[in-house]
């Protein structure tokens, strides 16, 4: 039984061989008893494991599961937040220890006081709330659309026609990214329509447009490299 053909048996079983190789293997199998046997046995292995019902666990996990479900019903346990908060706890333990030691030095009486008074930090004050002139923001948005719009449209057209030059992962990711950014642009636009005087929204919208342009430029460069 030659290695050249045996190596291909699994791929053949899964329908993953190229047309050329498949014909070659099928031709070979007609004359090779060993390969025919191996192929049948491989099929049996696959059939066995796909129907395999498993083995009972050594310990019954149900008591723990049942307890967690009861807690959840009482609104106590949230698996996700428990996981999310783990990281922060890990980071702050050494600092927390330092904090405890600092408090111990201060003394018992003043510890109580320290809890009650405001923490010792610079008092921050709000300097101003950005109050843009109405109308200037709308103008900024129009400017952004004018500056980036045509460039974006051009790149989109190029990519549409040259999509075949990029691998499937890149195309899929590109499409997903564009969908995410386009949704963000739409939301920003809607918000801007409701509040045209907001500098923040105008800048945010412009920022998203620039990101879209960067994304498309990056993809276009990849097309150039592949061609």
């Amino acid at each position: 039984m030659s290695d050249e053909w045996t190596d291909k048996l699994s791929a053949y079983l899964d329908g993953e061989l190229s047309q050329e190789n498949r014909s070659g293997l099928e031709q070979h199998i007609e004359t090779c008893e060993d390969c025919r046997t191996a192929l049948r046995q491989l099929r049996d292995v696959v059939d066995w494991v796909s129907e395999y019902q498993g083995r009972e666990p050594e310990r019954d996990a149900w008591p723990g599961i049942s307890a967690a479900i009861s807690e959840m019903k009482r609104g106590v346990v949230d698996l996700d937040s428990r996981r999310r908060s783990r990281r922060r706890v890990e980071l702050s333990i050494p600092q927390a220890l330092a904090a405890v030691m600092a408090l111990a030095v201060v003394g018992a009486g003043s510890w109580w006081l320290a809890r009650e008074t405001a923490p010792q930090t610079q008092m921050a004050a709000v300097i101003d709330v950005s109050a843009p002139q109405a109308g200037s923001t709308v103008a900024a948005t129009i400017a952004a659309a004018q500056k980036y719009g045509p460039a974006i449209a051009d790149l989109e057209a190029v990519l549409l026609s040259e999509e075949g030059m990029l691998d499937s992962v890149t195309v899929r990711v590109l499409r997903e990214q564009l969908a995410i950014i386009d949704r963000a642009l739409m939301e920003a636009q809607e918000a801007l329509a409701r509040d045209p005087a907001s500098d923040f929204l105008a800048d945010h919208y412009t920022g998203m447009m620039r990101k879209k342009l960067r994304l498309l430029r990056g993809a276009a460069r990849q097309v150039e490299v592949s061609s």
Binding site: A124, V126, I180, A188
Partner: protein, 282 residues
């Protein structure tokens, strides 16, 4: 046995299953490895040698080429269904690295040189790295630890995590969480669209920090006594802080500015749909 490969020479290594070859290299040489499919793992040592261990699954091979400035390793395509090569390299710690893989992870551990890593469908992990560290992946996560210098990380679909970094950091993400831990950079710019941003670190005097996302929360942890001019923008979300700050009425969709301490650094945090929190590091 250490192989000497002279500048301008091209050496083809063809092996049935795997190989283990060590090349002598001059200091200052760059390593370039472009893998079409398979992972790349790079470790470092103090010798002026590059050890290449490759495991390729079928009968492909790889080519080593020496130019005046680089040692270049690349796959050699054979007419088989698969020509993936998994590389394990050991290189001089100071060697600059330029690595790319279309389908596989890239991991670099213990480097002190510049690193450029490009993956298409794979994660990138870089430990060490200085001068210029650049990592990009389309579909995968990026982790950079103990990096210094000009750092540029980009992932389209995946999380980006930076731990213990100094220098200038630029991060571009679209769909994933960006986390910066124990960062002492002079400038940080994070642009995200659909994902949270978490910053834990020190704001350097006159440093510039800009965190922006569309649909995600931003949390900033900085030491008590930080001096910074802070500008915040939130369209649909809340702000919370354990610094002592008083606000006047904060209209929706407008920016707010305030000063902490001596106001030396500049911190800008903006999200369209999400909360911002500004906390003193414990």
């Amino acid at each position: 046995m250490v192989v000497n490969i002279i500048a301008g020479a091209l050496m083809a290594i063809t092996i049935p299953q795997s190989t283990d070859t060590t090349f002598a290299v001059d200091p200052g040489l760059r390593l370039e490895l472009h893998n079409s499919s398979g992972y790349i793992v790079v470790r470092t040592w103090e010798r002026n040698e590059v050890r290449v261990r490759a495991d390729n699954v079928f009968r492909g091979g790889f080519v080593v080429e020496r130019t005046s400035s680089a040692l270049r390793i690349g796959a050699r395509r054979w007419d088989y269904d698969d020509d993936d090569i998994d590389y394990l390299l050991t290189v001089p710690a100071a060697m600059d690295l330029e690595l790319s893989s279309s389908d596989g992870d890239i991991r670099v551990d213990g480097t002190a040189g510049e690193v450029t890593a490009r993956a298409s469908d794979g994660d990138v992990l870089i430990r060490g790295g200085s001068g210029r560290v650049s990592a990009r992946t389309s579909d995968g996560s990026i982790t950079a630890e103990n990096v210094a210098g000009r750092i540029h990380l980009e992932s389209s679909d995946g999380d980006i995590t930076v731990e213990r970094a100094t220098g200038d950091i630029e991060i571009e993400a679209t769909d994933g969480t960006v986390e910066l831990w124990e960062v002492e950079a002079t400038s940080v710019q994070v642009d995200n669209v659909d994902g949270d941003i978490m910053f834990d670190g020190v704001l350097a005097p006159r440093g510039s920090y800009r965190l922006s996302t569309h649909d995600g929360d931003i949390s900033v942890h900085i030491p008590e006594g930080t001096g910074a001019r802070v500008q915040l923008g939130i369209y649909d979300g809340d702000f919370s802080s354990n610094f002592s700050i008083t606000f006047p009425q904060w209209p929706r969709g407008r920016r707010v500015e305030f000063t902490l301490g001596n106001g030396s650094a500049e911190l800008q945090a903006e999200t369209f749909d999400g909360d911002i929190s500004l906390m003193r590091r414990p």
